[in-house]
Symmetry: D2
Subunit: 401 residues, 4 copies
C-alpha cells in the first residue's frame, strides 16, 4: 500500500492537509463506538464548548459537520441565504474563485469584486458598494480570510468597520479554512456571522470535519433562508443539541477524539502562542524567499499570509517541476501553483503543528530543488536568513524550562 | 478521554457503526499526505475499480464522498432528479422515514407507500402505481434495501421485475446502507441506478465516507437533473476523474487507506463468504430470540434481515432499559428502538467484521440483561439454540486449514 | 503479514500473552524518544513508585527489566544467591519445572519438592525441611504463586507462616507471573523477598518487560550473592536510580508509556476490583467446566486458580485437537496441555483486561469445539451455568452508574 | 502523559533509539497473539531467514532475543567462552568500555588494548599479540565495529586479515550495534563469529530485541563454553528451532511484526542503498562540522563513522548545555558526550530511517544552538556546506521516478 516509498519522513509542506501530531494520531487509533451511548454526548458537549475558543467567540454556535471545507462553505451559505440574494464576494485566487463558483451554482446573485491574484480583497470597492446600498439589497459579504492559492490574508476588521460605518446589516461570512487556529481571528470582536474551517488545516487533524460557527444573527437568518438544504441544515443539529444527543446522523468517533486531542494541544501551547508561532515561521519563510532573490506572490506586506507563502519563480522555470522534483528527490511535498498562477508559483504551507527545524529542513530542500531546476540560488542563503531571525525570535518551549 | 471506562472490550452490537478490524485500524494509523502527489491518484484509481465489486457492478461509476449516509442519500437524489419530480418511496421504519423527509425537503413530489413497521415495502402497491403510470410521471423509485430500525429486508429483484414488466423508465434508487457488503446485492443484475452505503456499516470502517454508485442511466440523468447541488455534484468528481487527479476537494487520506484494507479483507474472505457469514450469524440470532420466547419485529420470514434483528419485548418492559443496562453492566452496546418502536424493541446489529463467538458472547449478555429487567428468560437457552445451529453451519477458516 | 486471516476478532484465551486494552495500544503507538532527555526519568520515577502498588509493597524496590519472565527469574536468583546455595523449590507443573531447571543450570543446590501435577506445593514437606534446618543451610524458598500449566495457586501466606514459625531466615522468592495484578498478592504482608511478573500477563501489555520487586532483605543479599550477573544486575539499576537517570541501558519507550496506561486503567478500576473480577470470571469458568461434566486439573478447591483453568478431558480425546480446532474454526486461542499433561488438558486463560461477555463467548466456543471432537457436551450448558452465576455476581460498571 | 510537550515533531538525532518509520509503527499497532499458534512460527521462520541478509551471512544462525544490546553482548560472550578465557578487547570509548566491564564481570581474562578516545582500535597491537600467541591462549577478539561514543568505525576486514595471516583460531566477536544495517558489514566475508545489534538502532524499531548471529564455529564453541547462561542460552533456542516452534519463551509479537515491516522497508530500498544513504548523510554532517570550524572527535578519516558524528567544542563551552538547549528550544535531541568526553563533545546520530531534509533541519538547529551557547558560528554555513554536497549526491527516490 506504499506505492511510492522513500526513506525517512515525508516533509509535508502543502498548505493542507498538514502534519498530524503523534498525540492526535494516537487519540484516533480506536475502534468505533455507539454514538448513542452516554459517552459520546458527554464528549461532544465539551468539544462544542471548547471549539468556540478557536473562533474567539462566546456567543457563536458551532457545528461539527462530517464534510470538507467545500461542504462547510455550502453549509454557511444555504443556512443563511435564499436563492437570488445579493452577495458581495471577492475573487483574489483559486479558493475564492471556487467559493464564488459555488455561490453562483447555488443561485445567489453574486457581485464579484475581482483583484489581481496576489492582491487582497479590494475593500475600497466594498466600501463604495456598501455606501451605495441604501436599500440593503446586499444580504451578505463573503470573504476568504486567507487565500491559500496566493498567500494573501484579508483584513477582516476593516470589513466590519465598513459595515458598521454604514450601519449595513449584511451578513459577514468568512472562510477561515487556512486561517483559524493559525492567524489572528476574532469572530465576536469582528462581528463575523459565519466562520468556518476544515479539520485538516491548522487544527492538524485528518480531513473530514467541517467546523462552522454561527453568530446569533446567522442563526436568526436560518428562519428566513429559503435555500434548499438537508444534510447541511443547522436546524437538524440544533434539534439534537436541544435533546442533548447532539447528532442528527452518525459522527466520526475517531475525529471527535482527535479533535479533543488537537484542542488539548492548542490549549496547552496557548492559542496566542500558536498564532505567534505561525507568525514566526512565516516571517522566516519570507526572509528565505528574499534571500533567494525570489518574489512573494503577495504584492503588499499588509496581505502577507502567515500560513502559506506563494513564491513566484522566473518565467524560464516551470514551478510544477519544482514541486515534482521536491517530491521525487527529497520527499518534500510543496504546493503547486493553481489556475492563473499555475507554473508560475509554488507554495510553501507553514501551518499547523510545525516547528522551526521542520521549516528549516524544508527551506534547505527548496534551495536544493531550485538549484536542480536551474535557478541560480546560493545554497544555504535562505536557511541563513531564516535562522538569523529564528535564532532570536524563538522562545524556549515552556514545558521544558 | 475515557469518560466511561469499563474493563475488557466493548461489545459493539449496534447496527452501525460497527467493529473495525485491527488490520483497518492499522492501515489508518498514519499522517496526512498531499493528495495532489502521484501516490493518491494511483491509490484512488484502484479503489474506484475495486469498490465496484461490492456493488456487483461493472458498468457503474462509484463516488467516494466525504460524508455520511445522509449525505449519500442527498447525492443520489439531487444528481438525478429535479424539484417537483414524482418519486415513489416506501415508509417502513425510521430510516426510510428520514429519507422520505429528506426527499420532501428537497422538494420532490413524494408518493409515500407506507407499511406497518415490521413489514417490508408494499410492492403490490408499487405494481399498481407503475401499472397506472402510463405517462411515466414517476421519475424514481426510492427504496431502503434493509430498514435498520426494524430489521426488514426488501426484495429488490421484485422491484426490478415490476419496472421491467411495465417497461417503466423510472430510476431505481437504493439505500444499501445496512446491506451492501453484508446482504446479497446485485446492482447490475437488478438494474439499480443508484446504490449507496456508508463506510461505518458492513465495510467496517470509521464513519465519514459515503460510497455511491451510479449506473450509466443515472449518469445520463444528471444532465437534466435540476436539483441544486455543489458539494454533492457528481459532475465535479467526473471532471477530476477525467483529469486523473480524482478529487474535487480534499479526501481523507486515512479513509482511503482504510478502504483499501477493508476491501482487501473482504476479497480475502470472498464477498460471497462474507455474505454467507452474515446469513449464518443472523440465523443464529433469530434462533436465540425464538428460544427466549421473544418475537422478531419483522413480521414475515421473507423480510428477515441478515444484518440487524429487532427484538420485540413484552409491554411491561421498556426496551431502552435493556440497552442502558447492557451498557452499564456488561459493556454491551445494543441498538435502541427508534420512533414508533421506541421502548418496544431493542436491536442486535450483526453486521461487519464479526464472528461466531463474538455473537454468542453478545447473546449471552442479552440473556443476562433480559433477566435483569424482569423478563423470565432461561439463561443459556439462546446461546444453546444459536450454537446448535452454528456448530453445524460454521466452516473452517480457509487460511487455517 | 496476516498469514492466517479470519473474520472478526481473535478470542485470545491463552494464559498469556493476553488481550491488550485499546487504551494501552494507543499509548504505545509512538515514535522512539531520547531516554536521556528529562522526560523519560520523570516518567520512570512515577512508574517505579506506582508499580509498587501492584505488589502491595511500600518497602520494596522495583526493577523494570527489558526481558521476559524467564529473565525475571534469572534476575531474582542471581542477584540474591551464590552458586551452591541450597534452595527449596516446588515442582508442580511445567513452569515450576522450567524455573527449577534454570535454578539447577545456575548451579544452585536445588532441593525439589515434587507434587502430582494438579496439586499445590507440598507445604508440609516444606515445614519439615525448615524445621530440620537448624543450621540455616536453606538460603531460599522458590515458589510459583500460580502454576500456569495446571491452574494451581499456592498459598504464600502459609509459606511465610512456616518460615516465621521456625524463625528461618531463608529468602522467599516468588514467581508471580500469572498472579500479580490478578490474584490476591501481598508482598509486604507475606514477607516476600523477591516477587516478579511479566508485562504480557495480567498487566495486559505486550511481552518485553520483566517486573521484579525486591525487599530490603533481598537488596541486602545482593552484597554477598556471588552469582555472575551483568545484564540482570540490580546494582547497575540502583546506581542509575541514585543518579536520577534510572536506566543502565536503553529501555523501551513504548513499554514505559504502555505501563503508564496499564497502571492507570488498573487504578481506575481499583486493584481490588480487578482481583475480584478475576475471581468472578474464574468461578464462572469452573461452573461451566462442571456443567460440561469435565474435571478441573486442579485437584482441590484450595488450589483453584483465578487466572487459568486447566480442563481434563477424557482419554479418548486429544486435547491438542481441541486447541487446534478452536483456532481453525472459531478464531479462539486456548492453551495447550504442556509436558506431563500434554494431550490430556486444555487451558482457558482468564486473566488480564477481560470481561464477562468475552468469557461467555469463549465458553460458548469451547462447547462447540468439544462437540466437534466427539465429547458429548450439551451445547449451552456451560454458558448457562456461568451466566447464572455472573448475572448475580457482576456489579455495574462504576463509571457508568 | 506528555510531560514536556512542544509543538511539531521531535527531531531525534541521538545515535539510538532512532526514528521509527510510520510503516513500522503501524505494523506494531496490534493486540497480542498466541505465540504457540501456527501463525507465529510461520512468521518467525521467514524472519530468521531474512534477518541473515542484514548480516550478509548465509551460514550464520540468528537469534532474536527479547533484550537490549547489553544482553546481546552477554549472549555472545557466555555462549562461546568459559570463565578465565583470554580475550583481546579494545577500549576506545564508552561502549567498548562497558562491554569490557561486562567481560571482566563475567570473569574472562581481558587483555585490554586501549586507544585515545577518538582513535580506532589499535590493530598493530592486535597483530603483535596474535603473532606472539603461538599457544593460542587468546580465545576471542572482541571489537566494537562502531564506537557510538566517539563516532569511530573500526576496520573489521583487517582484524580478519591478521587472524588469517597468523592462522589464529580465536573467535571474532563483533558489536555491530550502531553499524549493522547502516555501515558496510560482511559477516561471512570477514569471518565474523558472532555479530549483534539492537532493534532500536539502524533497524529503526523500538528497543527490546537483541539480534545476534552466530557462525558455525561459534555454534560449535557453545559445546565447550562453560559460562553459566540460561536466559541467553542459544541451545534453548536451537532446541525450539528444531521443533519448528522457535521460541523457548514468549516473544514480543509486536516486535516480530515490526521487524517484518522494518526488513521489508530495507529490502525495498535495497540494503546497499541504505548503506550508501548513511554514507551520504554522514559526509554531509562532517562537511557541516568543518564549515562551523569545529573538529570531529574522530582523529583520522579512516575511522570516520557513517552513523554518528561526535563534535568537539571549544573548552569554554559545556557540550551538555548544547544538548539541553537544543531540546529546550528547538525540540532537537542530540547525544551527550559520555564519560571521558563528557562536556567536551556532543553527538549527532545520523542512522536509521532518515533522509536529507531531516538531517539539514537538524544541522540548522545545531547552528542556532551553537550561537545560543556563545560559539561564533556563521548561521547557514553548515547547511550550505552539507547541501552543496547533498544536492549533487542525492539520487532520485527510485519508486518515484
Amino acid at each position: 500500500m506504499d506505492y511510492v516509498y522513500g526513506p525517512g519522513r515525508n516533509h509535508l509542506f502543502v498548505p493542507g492537509p498538514v502534519n498530524i501530531p503523534e498525540q492526535v494520531i494516537r487519540a484516533m487509533n480506536r475502534n468505533n463506538e455507539d454514538y448513542r451511548s452516554p459517552a459520546v454526548p458527554a464528549l461532544t458537549k465539551v468539544l462544542l464548548e471548547d471549539v468556540k475558543k478557536i473562533f474567539k467567540t462566546t456567543s457563536g454556535t458551532p457545528f461539527l459537520i462530517p464534510t470538507t471545507g467545500t461542504g462547510a462553505w455550502e453549509s454557511a451559505l444555504t443556512n443563511t441565504l435564499s436563492p437570488g440574494d445579493r452577495i458581495v464576494s471577492f475573487l483574489i485566487g483559486q479558493f475564492s474563485l471556487l467559493w464564488i463558483d459555488q455561490q453562483q451554482r447555488l443561485n445567489f446573485n453574486v457581485d464579484v469584486v475581482e483583484s489581481d491574484w496576489g492582491q487582497g480583497a479590494n475593500l475600497d470597492v466594498l466600501a463604495s458598494k456598501i455606501a451605495a446600498d441604501k436599500a440593503h439589497t446586499i444580504k451578505a459579504i463573503c470573504i476568504v480570510h486567507n487565500e491559500t492559492a496566493t498567500g494573501v490574508t484579508n483584513n477582516l476588521a476593516t470589513v466590519r468597520k465598513i459595515l458598521d460605518h454604514y450601519q449595513h446589516p449584511a451578513l459577514f461570512l468568512v472562510d477561515g479554512v487556512s486561517s483559524i487556529c493559525a492567524l489572528d481571528f476574532r469572530m465576536d470582536e469582528w462581528g463575523i456571522d459565519v466562520a468556518l474551517t476544515g479539520s485538516q488545516k491548522a487544527l492538524s487533524l485528518p480531513t473530514g470535519m467541517g467546523i462552522v460557527c454561527a453568530s446569533p444573527k446567522a442563526l436568526e437568518a436560518t428562519k428566513t433562508a429559503k435555500s434548499v438544504r438537508v444534510f447541511f441544515d443547522w436546524n437538524d443539529y440544533l434539534k439534537f443539541y436541544k435533546m442533548g444527543t447532539y447528532w442528527p446522523y452518525t459522527p466520526s468517533i475517531q475525529l471527535l477524539y482527535g479533535l479533543r486531542a488537537a484542542l488539548d494541544l492548542i490549549f496547552e501551547e496557548g492559542l496566542d502562542n500558536v498564532i505567534a508561532r505561525h507568525g514566526r515561521l512565516a516571517k522566516a519563510t519570507r526572509l528565505a524567499v528574499e534571500a533567494w532573490g525570489l518574489k512573494n506572490c503577495t504584492q503588499k506586506e499588509e496581505w502577507f499570509s502567515d500560513t502559506v507563502t506563494a513564491v513566484v519563480i522566473p518565467p524560464y522555470i516551470d514551478s510544477s517541476e519544482i514541486v515534482r522534483r521536491a517530491w521525487k528527490r527529497y520527499n518534500l511535498s510543496l504546493g503547486l501553483g493553481l489556475n492563473k498562477v499555475a507554473g508560475k508559483v509554488f507554495r510553501i504551507g507553514h501551518l499547523g503543528n510545525l516547528n522551526e527545524l521542520q521549516l528549516l529542513g524544508c527551506l534547505a530542500g527548496v534551495e536544493m530543488v531550485l538549484k536542480d531546476v536551474g535557478y541560480p540560488v546560493k545554497l544555504g542563503s535562505g536557511v541563513a536568513a531564516a535562522s538569523a531571525y529564528l535564532s532570536n525570535a524563538t522562545p524556549l518551549i515552556p514545558s521544558r524550562i
